[in-house]
Assembly symmetry: C2
Homo-oligomer: 313 residues x 2
């Protein structure tokens, strides 16, 4: 597939500076990036996606993101025309078009809609790729990350993976949105959702880790297989911290010495309050800080980095 | 079906004939109706919607649809600038612009996205209305409706209402989409989804009724409060058929004399096979046919009808 077909011959920095997008074969500034209101990617949330970060001019774990995105697409029978190498080339070009050194780079595969005259069934649609690169998005404001996030345990349970495959990254976020409003009402920054059995799952855009008596734990069910989660697990091994991937009951979260969340939009982020209970003298804990510092130091030194192929304007 | 009423000119007719849309204050032909790829209505499926039908130049139960849409919006804290009377006027205008005598008319309220410089939270977005009118959509092809639908009981359970409010009409359909693919693989037309306890819920775009020994039953939990479902319940009363709104176990569905589904996109529709079991000599059953005929006869006679205000060119 020719991914360069519709590139403009010259780019106007002002048009592209706030972001660049690719939709079904065409490149455009982010402000012009729109999808049909009748697309089942919207009307049935029949879409999967992934998000990779660019820091200091390099993608982080792009191969892992492309691999996960492909697995998500296959599990939902959303197969676009583009190969993984096509998608890689598109993402490089988007960051280059936007001229970003730090970027939030999203890729989606949407269902489209049944072709005219066919049965009203998703098999009769032609899935297609969209993607965009915008300036890096932080999950929380810098001052919140600095003081540690104030979290609540949400009263809305996470959608169970029996109904929606949590490992195929999806936009089924009504439970997350309700939990965000609940957190706000309670004066907190962000929520953590449980499953129906009362085990920890995840929050809107992040996985969750507990640290208790020097042992790190993170849930294995009803969660996205986060790439930053994987990075934290690898860092634990490197730092000699035992890390257990298993069910994490609510009581373990409540009694944890430290809690941290992990996200492409910020890396490991410490929690300083849970439902009003103060942890670590109201700051991110020492193990969390060590993980966070190591994560960013390693990224700056080129860990899992793939330099963006910037093109001359 | 696509009969032209009063439209501006023959040139405009070609632009508007396949549908008319309204997005956040502006009218446009459906082919131009697009939403930003960055809108949380898409990226978090943070949106609610409703669909009303127009038949023979009149809306069906428009007041009921507007009332339900408002309740859905309020439950999701999605409040657009438009009042119910504004929305009513927009829908009339859309059907008039498209020149349709039979129409499928959708209305959505999308979250938008947080305003620049604010916290990355849904409270900081400005929700807005979109709507469109297109030629009437049938849930199934006419020949399928005539012979009776072939259904399966899906292996994917419906998203529980504890996580996502089923009564606020939403696009959280990954379970429905998986079930549609399963039905197709098994050579059936459509699926019926159960809850985690094994009770009947609904299918993609329809409620479900069983008829056993002259008694009609339909689920009360984990389902949309369908307007066509309400109409069938009212018709049962009119026809002297006892109708029970309660949990419907899978065994009741399996052993039912008749099964029917109800949808704005087709009214009551009979089922002739369930997981390969033949019902009623492989046709829609007699009670179903009576309900179906009564439904359409009453609609033709103006039942709950609000005539479209077609505007002169």
């Amino acid at each position: 597939m020719n991914v360069t077909a519709s590139i403009p011959s010259s780019t106007d920095a002002a048009r592209w500076a706030s972001g660049a997008a690719f939709i079904d074969g065409a490149y455009m500034p982010i402000a012009e990036a729109r999808i049909p209101i009748t697309d089942w990617g919207f009307r049935r949330s029949d879409v999967t996606y992934d998000v990779v970060s660019v820091w200091d001019g390099a993608f982080f774990r792009l191969d892992d993101h492309l691999k996960r995105f492909r697995a998500s697409m296959e599990s939902m029978r959303l197969i676009p025309a583009e190969s993984d190498e096509d998608i890689r080339a598109i993402l490089h070009r988007l960051v280059s078009l936007a001229g970003l050194r730090e970027a939030y780079v999203a890729m989606d595969c949407l269902r489209g809609r049944p072709l005219p005259g066919t049965q009203y069934h998703p098999k009769n649609a032609r899935p297609y790729l969209s993607a965009y690169a915008i300036p890096y998005v932080w999950l929380m404001k810098p001052e919140v990350i600095e003081r540690g996030a104030h979290m609540i345990v949400a009263s809305t349970p996470r959608i169970p993976e029996a109904s929606v495959n949590a490992r195929a990254k999806n936009f089924h976020w009504a439970d997350m949105t309700a939990a965000l409003f609940e957190a706000d009402e309670k004066g907190a920054d962000n929520p953590i959702l449980l499953d129906a059995a009362g085990n920890v799952t995840e929050g809107p855009g992040y996985n969750v880790f507990c640290i208790t008596d020097g042992i790190v734990s993170t849930p294995d069910r009803n969660v996205l297989g986060g790439i930053t989660r994987l990075s934290v697990i690898e860092l634990c091994a490197e730092l000699g911290l035992p890390c257990e991937v298993r069910d994490v009951p609510l009581e373990e979260l409540r009694n944890a010495d430290e809690i941290l969340v992990s996200s492409t939009a910020g890396g490991p982020i410490g929690v300083s309050r849970l439902d009003g209970r103060i942890l670590n003298n109201d700051r991110p804990g020492p193990v969390t800080q060590k993980l966070r510092e190591t994560y960013w130091a390693k990224r700056k030194s080129g860990w899992h980095a793939e330099p963006v192929r910037y093109e001359a304007a």
